[in-house]
Structure formats: structure tokens, C-alpha cells
Amino acid sequence: MPTVKSLEDLKRIREEAMKKRDIKTTESRVQIVVGMGTPGIAAGARDTLKEFLNLIEEKNLTDVTVRQTGNFGLDSLEPVVQVIIDNAAPVTYGKVTPYAARQIMEQHILGGKVVEANVIPTEAK
């Protein structure tokens, strides 16, 4: 731990501390859950995940979290991604290539319109 010797030191530590506090307390509006089971990774889920991260950075979004989960059990449709907005029922997408990821980001997450072409129908729907 650093020793604080000046106002600047304290300011720097305070900014770091505030960032850590935000990490702990921020509640996101949007959650993107990527299936990262063996079939998911084999089908390119890592690239999909990275594309989502790039998009978030590119669009400077602060209210989105990206989480990983295990196998969704939909191997033929991998990579599988769930999008949850404002605690609404999750929308599950299949065959989410990096290209599809961009569409989901722009049309669904930012535009509010589900990308029907990739949606996997679920019971909840």
C-alpha cells in the first residue's frame, strides 16, 4: 500500500478507491451473458465475447455488464448469447457471430428492437 505524502497522492488514491466502489455497487441496465461451454468456445464464443467488449468500448457504454456462463444446452446453435435489459425476460440468441453481435448491440441493446433472425424461441416468450 502506498504512503500518502501529498494532496495529489490522496487524490489519486481516492480516485482509485471510488472506481473500486463503483465496481462493487454499479447496477447495470443491460446484461449480456455469453455461453462459454466447450461447444460455445469451439463455435467461436470467444470472438463473439470480444466483439461485444469492443463494441462497448467503441460506443462508450457504462451501463452494460458482460458475463459468462456455462453451456446453455443448445450445442447446434452456439455461440449462444442472452440479453437481459432492465430485468425483463431474457432474449436468447443463437449462432451469434461477431457480425450478429454488432447487430444485436446496435438494434436491440441501443435501438430496443429484438434481432428476430437470431432469436431462439423459448418458453418464456
Binding site: M1, V4, K24, V34, L53, E57, T65, R67, Q68
Partner: protein
């Protein structure tokens, strides 16, 4: 801005470092690089996450908020592959217990303003960074780098802050006196020996926000020119002591305590001293004696501690709450603080509300709120829709106030003028089923027990007062006893050495003043109007209501109730010990209490 999907906070508390926390950070980074995840997951070092003795080297992963504990370097490759690559929580590494968070306080109630309690339950008391994120140590930095000690005193003086221990002496005035004494070295003491029955304002702050007390003490030390401080905390508060020690250790680590704080030539350090349970050690001269390792007994003043205190050197003593509020005053300015409260009592005060009220617990309100607002708005009114009878303010040495005082503003002067006092902030609310003679006896029993015995008026006087009160409660009192009581109270008050003896008769004097008819009922009519004093009450079966169910007879511990099944039962007054169990168990309200 760089976006990370996940953050790992690793505890680098000194104890965790000893157990290999740095190696874990390195291993995490290596593994993340190896899997190509380093652009997605950020590893951050932080202060404590949980007790290192139980959780070992630990880390928390966000956004999932998963706490992994007791980790070794060898666990990291598996953890990274499972959690960060495959997104599976590794149950076997998860902490077995959850870190206890403090949610005792709850959300602020109506009319509450939280300044002292602002961080309680909000921040992790073990993690100095969380305090810093809430502007912690900012006031200290500002004061040390841009204010002279005189300016600090001046700012606190203008805020109108008064000592929260009970007497309400202006805090900055006390600091000034101590600063002006030409002797040295100077010491600082913090009175954390909170002993009033039912009061726990200070415990909450010490346990949940210890850094605010530490920062306030460093600021006061700077103002006075003190080099060492003692926090005198009662041993009955083990969590407070533990959290204070953690806070002091962390403040040292960050350089807020120790040599050349903030690169200036000001140096200061803190120690925690534990009391052994004597109530009188809350008195400042007794507290100082106890810190020195002597018997905790008060001595006559003057010389005041500002001149001769710890180790015979100038010492400033304040209460926990006084110190805790100082950083906020310096941060937000004297005007901000002085805008709250009444003309002579500025700011806010914490109170512990207990007794027959709906919302018992801690509150923090601005001075000047009326007792009515505190009892009925903040406290939610009297329990079970009963009637308000009295409120004891100022703890066992305070006095009781009644209906006619309900619109008094809560401030130092108003309470003193009404014959009670502010004290440290205990409020005990009593409903109309309370016997005031019994209450006076209860408080007297407490102060008599806690009298240190050094001076005769307090040692013998409190004993004699208690004897008379017991005699009255037992139905053996006479009118002459009441006169005797008044005389004794006056003498004990005038002649005792310290605040304990001087304040001890207060509950008797104030109950005599407001409820004299209850005393007279006890000694002349041999009745206890509130039906509390056992010697003066009797239980009787109400014949028309009794169904003869035998419940009372079966539950009576001394077999004082007789009667056949389905027949009216009878209580034998001679055998009855007035425990009241029969009235409690009766399903038909067929037992009456008479006096």
C-alpha cells in the same frame, strides 16, 4: 475508456501479504495473459475484504460478486480457466461464510439527518479505501497542507460544536485551552467508555466507521499540538476495539498516522486502551487514571486535564461523537454545520431511544427538534397504543421529563433548565404502566453499584438513598422518609467529588418533583398506582369471568391458586409471590391486579 468485463479485487492487507497475496496477484496476471484475457479482466489490489484470520488470502470477482477465500498460488490456474475463460463459478474455492455487513441501522427515519452515522452500514469498516472514497482523510489533507492549527480551532469554534459526552462544553474552546498551556508533550484522549444503560451511539460509530474517529483525532491533535492519542474503549465492545485497531493499522500504512504526516513536520500516533467495565471511568479524570494503569477513580479538578492530564501532561479529552464529526465540519465548513440546530446547540446529535416506544434504536437528528417529534415522529409513538408518561434523558444521571415538557426543543440549555440534561444521548421512554418510584430505584441501583467509593457522599449517600427507595417500594416507607430523601439528594449532589455522585440523585429529584403523588400513594395509602411494586399489589380472580379452566393453578410456581375444575379459582394472598404468571396465562382476562 477501456472497458473490462470483469474486475478482480485482491486483498493486500498486511496479513494477506504475509500469506502470499502478492504472489496471487502475479499468478492471476500471468494466467490471464496466457489465456489472452488480460484485456477483458482487470486485477486490482484493495484493502481488507474479510477477516484474514478466517478468509486467508482472498479476492472478490465482480460483477458476479463472488468471494473466493483461502487461496494459494497453485489454485490460480484452475480458477482463471474455470471462472474467467469458461464462466463457471468454482464452488470449492468459494468463501464458506459470508462477510457480515452492518445493516442494523436501516434507512434514515423521518426527520433524521445523518452526519455522524452517515457511513454506518454503507462502507466496510475494515477497508480504508471505502472511507477514502467517501471523502475520508480529505479534511486532514486540507488542514495539514493549508491551515494553521489556530485556523483549525477557529473553524471548529465557528461551527459551534459542543462536546458530545454530556456537559456540552465548546470543543474548540477546550482545544484552545490545551494548546495555550506551555508544557509538553501533549496528549489526546477519546472517551469511548459508553456505559449508560441502553445507550450505544458510540459503539455503532466505532464499529462501522472507525476511520472518522481516527481522522477527527488526528485533526484535534494537530490543532492542539499533541503527539500521542489514546482511545479509551470499554472491553464490553470487542468488535469496536478490533475494528479500531484495524483502522489504526491501516491509517499508519497509508501514512495518516506516524511520522511526518502528509510530508509535514507534524507527527502523531494512536493507541487503544481497554477499560475493565467501570462506569466511573467515563469521567475524564478517572479515565486518565485508568489509562495510566491506576485504579479508575476520579480526582478533584482543578487542575483540569488541559493542564495536567495523562502522565501529568496537558491532555484534551473528547467523546467519540465529537471527534467523528470534526472532519465533516472542516470539509464542509463551519457555516454548513452551524446552520443546523438551535442558537446555542449546533449541528446534529445521535440518540439511543429505548423503552416503551415503537421504533427503538439509534437516531441522529438536528438539535432543536421537540421531544414530541422525537418520540412520536421519529420514534413512532408509544408501544401498544398506551399513553406517554415520562421520558428519561441523559442516562442514569439525567432526569425525567413529562407531558408538559413535550414541546421543549432538544438542546443543552432547554433540557438543563427543565431539570434534566442532554448527557451522552440515551432516551428512555416510559408509558403509563411505569411506576416512577420503581424507576428512581432502578437508576439508583445502577449508580450505587457503579460508585467507585472514593468519596463518602457518593459511597454512603447513594446507598442510603437506595435503602429509602427500597423501603418505600416495599410499602414500609413513611412521610418522613420522603423528607429525608430530599435532604440526602441535596447533600450528595453538592458534596460528591465527580459527576457520578453529583448526578446520581437526579432521577429521584425529578420524579419527586413531577410524581410526588406517587411517592405519597406508596407511603400513606400503601398503594402503587402503576401496579408495579410487588409488596403493594395483589392478584385476584374476577369471579364472574373465571371459567375454572385450571390454567392459572397449573402454572402457579408456588401453588397459591386452588379451585375445582369448572369452579371459580381462588388465589391465596399469603402464599402468592406476585409474579404475575397467572395473569399472563389466563385466556379470559379473569385475573385482576389490585393495589
Amino acid at each position: 475508456m477501456k472497458f473490462f468485463r470483469s474486475h478482480v479485487l485482491v486483498s493486500v492487507d498486511p496479513q494477506c501479504l504475509d500469506m502470499g497475496a502478492h504472489e496471487i496477484v502475479d499468478a492471476l496476471n500471468d494466467e490471464l495473459v496466457a489465456w489472452g484475457l488480460i484485456d477483458e479482466v482487470q486485477v486490482l489490489e484493495t484493502s481488507r475484504l474479510g477477516d484474514p484470520a478466517r478468509f486467508g488470502p482472498d479476492l472478490v470477482v465482480y460483477p458476479e460478486n463472488v468471494h473466493y477465500a483461502n487461496l494459494g498460488v497453485d489454485d490460480i490456474p484452475y480458477l482463471v480457466e474455470e471462472h474467467f475463460l469458461k464462466g463457471r463459478i468454482v464452488e470449492k474455492f468459494r468463501a464458506k461464510e459470508t462477510v457480515v455487513t452492518d445493516d442494523e441501522l436501516g434507512a434514515p427515519k423521518a426527520k433524521e439527518v445523518r452526519i455522524v452515522l452517515r457511513n454506518c452500514g454503507k462502507i466496510d469498516p475494515h477497508n480504508i479505501e471505502e472511507y477514502i472514497a467517501e471523502d475520508g482523510y480529505q479534511a486532514l489533507a486540507n488542514a495539514l497542507t493549508s491551515m494553521t492549527p489556530e485556523q483549525v480551532i477557529d473553524e471548529v469554534m465557528r461551527s459551534g460544536l459542543r462536546g458530545r459526552g454530556g456537559a456540552g462544553f465548546p470543543a474548540a474552546r477546550k482545544w484552545q485551552l490545551c494548546r495555550q498551556v506551555p508544557d509538553g508533550p501533549k496528549y489526546l484522549t477519546c472517551n469511548a467508555d459508553e456505559g449508560d444503560p441502553g445507550a450505544f451511539m458510540n459503539r455503532r460509530v466505532l464499529e462501522s466507521d472507525p476511520h472518522s474517529v481516527v481522522e477527527g483525532m488526528i485533526l484535534a491533535a494537530y490543532a492542539i499540538g499533541a503527539s500521542l492519542g489514546y482511545i479509551y474503549c470499554r472491553a464490553e465492545y470487542p468488535i469496536a476495539v478490533a475494528n479500531l485497531n484495524v483502522a489504526i493499522e491501516q491509517a499508519r500504512e497509508f501514512g495518516f498516522l506516524g511520522q511526518n504526516i502528509f510530508g509535514t513536520d507534524f507527527s502523531f500516533d494512536l493507541e487503544v486502551r481497554m477499560g475493565a467495565g467501570a462506569f466511573v471511568c467515563g469521567e475524564e479524570t478517572a479515565l486518565i487514571a485508568s489509562i495510566e494503569g491506576k485504579r479508575g477513580e476520579p480526582r478533584p479538578r482543578p487542575p483540569f486535564p488541559a493542564v495536567k492530564g495523562v502522565w501529568g501532561k496537558p491532555t484534551n479529552n473528547n467523546n467519540v461523537e465529537t471527534y467523528a464529526v470534526v472532519p465533516q465540519i472542516l470539509l464542509k465548513g463551519a457555516d454548513w454545520y452551524a446552520a443546523m440546530g438551535t442558537e446555542k446547540s449546533k449541528g446534529t446529535k445521535t440518540f439511543a431511544i429505548a423503552g416503551d416506544v415503537v421504533n427503538t434504536g439509534l437516531i441522529e437528528v438536528p438539535f432543536g427538534l421537540s421531544l414530541r417529534e422525537v418520540i412520536f415522529d421519529v420514534g413512532g409513538g408509544i408501544k401498544d397504543n398506551k399513553k406517554f408518561k415520562a421520558i428519561q434523558t441523559g442516562g442514569p444521571m439525567g432526569g425525567c421529563l413529562v407531558e408538559e415538557h413535550l414541546d421543549l426543543p432538544l438542546d443543552y440549555e432547554a433540557l438543563t433548565a427543565a431539570g434534566s440534561m442532554m448527557g451522552s444521548g440515551g432516551l428512555i421512554i416510559m408509558d403509563d404502566e411505569t411506576c416512577m418510584v420503581d424507576i428512581a430505584r432502578f437508576f439508583m441501583e445502577f449508580t450505587q453499584e457503579e460508585s467507585c467509593g472514593k468519596c463518602t457522599p457518593c459511597r454512603v449517600g447513594t446507598r442510603r438513598i437506595l435503602d429509602i427507595l427500597e423501603k418505600i417500594c416495599n410499602g414500609k416507607g413513611t412521610l418522613a422518609d420522603i423528607d429525608q430523601l430530599e435532604l440526602l439528594c441535596e447533600e450528595v449532589m453538592k458534596n460528591s467529588l465527580c459527576g457520578l455522585g453529583q448526578g446520581a440523585p437526579n432521577p429521584v429529584i425529578s420524579t419527586l418533583k413531577h410524581f410526588r403523588e406517587e411517592y405519597i400513594a406508596h407511603v400513606v395509602d400503601k398503594k402503587c398506582p402503576a401496579k408495579v411494586c410487588r409488596a403493594l399489589i395483589r392478584y385476584e380472580v374476577i369471579a364472574p369471568t373465571c371459567t375454572g379452566c385450571t390454567v392459572c393453578a397449573r402454572n402457579c410456581p408456588v401453588e397459591a391458586i386452588s379451585g375445582e375444575r369448572r369452579q371459580v379459582h381462588v388465589i391465596d394472598e399469603k402464599t402468592c409471590i406476585r409474579c404475575g404468571i397467572c395473569a399472563q396465562v389466563c385466556n379470559f382476562d379473569a385475573i385482576a391486579v389490585l393495589s
